[in-house]
């Protein structure tokens, strides 16, 4: 019999029971909550007269709606100018207080984007099942934790039962090996992977990312990779546990106590796929082939290297694909065959659950240090992922570097990634963004998003257009 994949092991260790119809009841160790997808779940509990099954498995923080300007934040919830956003943040506070759930309030130093906060607090641990009413919950798979996004009905289901009804996914392996070129980062790796397998390439699968390139990455880089597994259609991304994982977790507030640490580490070290495990699909990627990536269209799979030209629908064999390219070109205001460097950028966004951790900010700061943001830009935003990331960045003087270069240094939150707060693109504006989705209207009505790495976004902030960050880095 073949060995088990990491996904198989996590599935087996959380199986409460198989039900007669072939579905499974899977135990959930951690649920992260935020203001957008939880109010209707709490309302459902109240209407049914139910209480949460296990309070301490839940951790909440507001992130999607919170303002990121200091003046608005200082006033507290009443300072949120948009009345509908204010109600949603307030509702989260009221629900958490009523049910007794731990919440990092908007102005708590520990507040931030749920997918930054969970790992930072050690609330995400290897071997856990982690869910949240947010598709980017795949992020936590970087810790060898089975993690995926769920809908609001399932948020309520987990609150009430600590379980989810699941069907087992397929196993897919994406192996990346070899050395990366200078200036190429985790974001470029995952965008490249999505370009290769497509936005539906991982549908129905848990994708395990493996290979020496992946294991050479920091935890921040691994989180960036797993974060975007969902953009390849996979609900869950996974990376096996190694010493980097264990070192990252040690000493964090929710991590196992000293007395339990050794037992925990012994268990975590088994969280790797067996040598003889079989995968339903295997994709191999050579790291040397990856160049800095830029999306040109309206789906993350519409991505090319900085040295490539915007595609021409005339070169596409299938009509449906040619139509999709033409529709995206129209929306993005681009010409077939044009150079990426000819796109005039309006805004820069460095942030989001994909790229707002300390390492991302360090790389961006290095690129802009001692330089000035292009005068042609309307705005260049840096939004740290949490209060603690912000504090760390300020201790390292990164805030000064950004501010001196002419970028805005903001308070933590999801911000312009999905434009639920005041940070958004105007119609027709082009943005170099370190976020995860370039869908139509995602960053604002009519806005045009180009997904890039933090280094590429920072370099674009200086030149006002896309440049090959490999050249910038080699002169640094």
């Amino acid at each position: 019999m073949a060995g088990k994949t990491l996904y198989d092991k996590l599935w087996d260790s959380h199986l409460v029971k198989m039900r007669e119809d072939g579905t499974a009841l899977i135990y959930i160790d951690r649920q992260l909550l935020h203001e957008v997808t939880s109010p209707q779940a709490f309302e459902g509990l109240r209407l049914a007269g139910r209480r949460p099954w296990r309070l301490n498995s839940n951790l909440a923080t507001p992130d999607h709606n919170v303002p990121t300007t200091k003046t608005e934040r200082e006033i507290g919830i009443e300072g949120i100018l948009d009345p509908i956003s204010r109600i949603q943040v307030k509702t989260l506070d009221e629900n958490c207080a009523e049910f007794g759930i731990t919440e990092f309030l908007m102005n708590d130093i520990r507040q931030g984007i749920v997918h930054v906060v969970g790992p930072e607090q050690g609330a995400t641990l290897p071997g856990m099942t982690v869910v949240c009413g947010d598709s980017h919950t795949s992020t936590h798979g970087a810790f060898g934790a089975l993690s995926h996004g769920i809908g609001t009905s399932e948020v309520e289901h987990v609150l009430a039962t600590q379980c989810l009804i699941q069907q087992k996914m397929k196993n897919m392996l994406v192996d990346v090996s070899g050395g990366l070129q200078a200036g190429v980062s985790a974001k470029d790796i995952v965008l490249h992977i999505i370009g290769v397998i497509g936005t539906a390439g991982g549908n129905g699968c848990a994708i395990e990312f493996s290979g020496d390139t992946i294991h050479a990455l920091s935890m921040e880089g691994r989180m960036t990779i797993c974060n975007m597994a969902i953009e390849a259609g996979a609900r869950a991304g996974l990376i096996s546990v190694d010493q980097t994982t264990i070192d990252y977790v040690k000493g964090r507030p929710f991590a196992p106590a000293e007395s339990e640490w050794d037992a925990a580490v012994t268990q975590w070290k088994t969280l790797v796929s067996d040598e003889d495990a079989e995968f339903d699909r295997v994709v191999k990627i050579k790291a040397e082939d990856i160049v800095p990536q830029v999306t040109w269209g309206t789906s993350p799979e519409m991505v090319i290297g900085i040295d490539e030209l915007v595609p021409d629908p005339a070169n596409e064999q299938e009509d449906a694909k040619a139509d999709a390219i033409q529709r995206a070109l129209n929306y993005m205001g681009l010409d077939a065959g044009q150079k990426l460097s000819d796109i005039k950028l309006d805004r820069i966004f460095i942030g989001s659950c994909t790229n707002s951790r300390i390492e991302d900010l360090r790389v961006a700061a290095k690129v802009v240090a001692g330089k000035k943001v292009a005068a042609s830009l309307k705005q260049a935003l840096v939004v740290p992922g949490s209060g603690l990331v912000k504090q760390q960045a300020e201790a390292e003087g990164l805030d000064k570097i950004f501010i001196d270069a002419g970028l805005e240094w903001r308070e933590p939150g999801c911000s312009m990634c999905l434009a639920m707060n005041a940070d958004k693109l105007g119609a027709g504006e082009h943005c170099a963004s370190t976020s995860n989705r370039n869908f139509e209207g995602r960053q604002g009505y009519g806005g045009r998003t180009h997904l890039v790495s933090p280094a590429m976004a920072a370099a674009a902030a200086i030149s006002g257009s896309f440049v090959d960050v490999r050249e910038v880095m080699s002169h640094a």
Binding site: V16, K17, D21, G22, L25, Y27, D29, V36, P39, Q40, E43, A48, W53, R54, N56, N65, I84, S85, I87, Q88, T91, L125, G127, D134, S135, G149, I150, G151, T152, S153, E154, H157, T161, Q162, C163, I165, M169, T199, A200, N203, G233, F254, A255, P256, A257, E260, A264, Q267, S299, D323, A324, R327, A419, M420, R437, F439, E440, G441, R442, Y445
Partner: protein, 212 residues
């Protein structure tokens, strides 16, 4: 949840792949703390010529006459026929809520994004996967007869046209049971409360740090 048995309706065609959740319901409408009322904002950016805001009366907004939902022939349709990978993107359940609120009960596509597919069943919405060539065939039929009417019979797992043509489809038996009976699955899971407690007791011994 509304019970689902059979649905008979004209078919609304949206022949594009990767219809994402931002397209189905733009993020500004996610600020509601209710489950209902999202219907008028379904496909907001495609449906109206102006930018939609929550709390605005949609009946006074300029409609995009080219968008399929605005064509009188499709009014009252309960069946959406769409391109592959429907519902990709975020986990927002507001997407199936908006479709349901706008009167849709069935979506037919060659493939769906996993989270959307899962969310649909929780809200009385039936996502049907048909082979790509059958979906193409339905689009072709609809193109000839823009009042194509189909009957979806969940019990027999079959789609019928008025001409008597049929297409069989698969559906998970538990999800089918819940849809037909309009059941809330929390109550069903709580019937297994003892098994859940037993699991917790065993694992509290083995990995106590997971319970703190």
């Amino acid at each position: 949840m509304r019970k689902f048995t059979t649905v008979s309706s004209i078919v609304t065609p949206m022949n594009r792949a990767n219809i994402d959740t931002d397209m189905i319901i733009p993020k500004q409408f996610l600020k509601s703390i209710k489950r209902t009322g999202f219907g008028p904002n379904l496909f907001d950016e495609l449906r109206y010529l102006d930018e939609g805001q929550p709390g605005v009366d949609c009946s006074t907004r300029p409609l995009n006459p080219d968008f399929v939902l605005n064509k009188p022939a499709y009014s009252g349709s309960q069946i959406l026929l769409a391109g592959e990978n429907f519902g990709c993107g975020s986990s927002r359940e507001h997407a199936p809520w908006a479709l349901e609120d706008a009167g849709f009960r069935v979506i037919i596509a060659a493939s769906f994004a996993d989270i959307f597919f899962n969310n649909s069943f929780k809200n009385g919405l039936l996502p049907i996967i048909l082979p790509a060539e059958q979906v193409d065939g339905l689009f072709a039929l609809e193109a000839v007869d823009s009042a194509l009417k189909l009957e979806i019979d969940l019990e027999s797992q079959v789609i019928r046209s008025e001409e008597g043509k049929t297409w069989a489809f698969e559906v998970d038996s538990f999800r089918k049971y819940c849809l037909i009976n309009g059941l809330d699955d929390i109550g069903l899971t709580l019937q297994d409360a003892d098994a859940i407690k037993e699991y917790e007791n065993q694992n509290r011994q083995k990995s106590p740090w997971l319970f703190k």
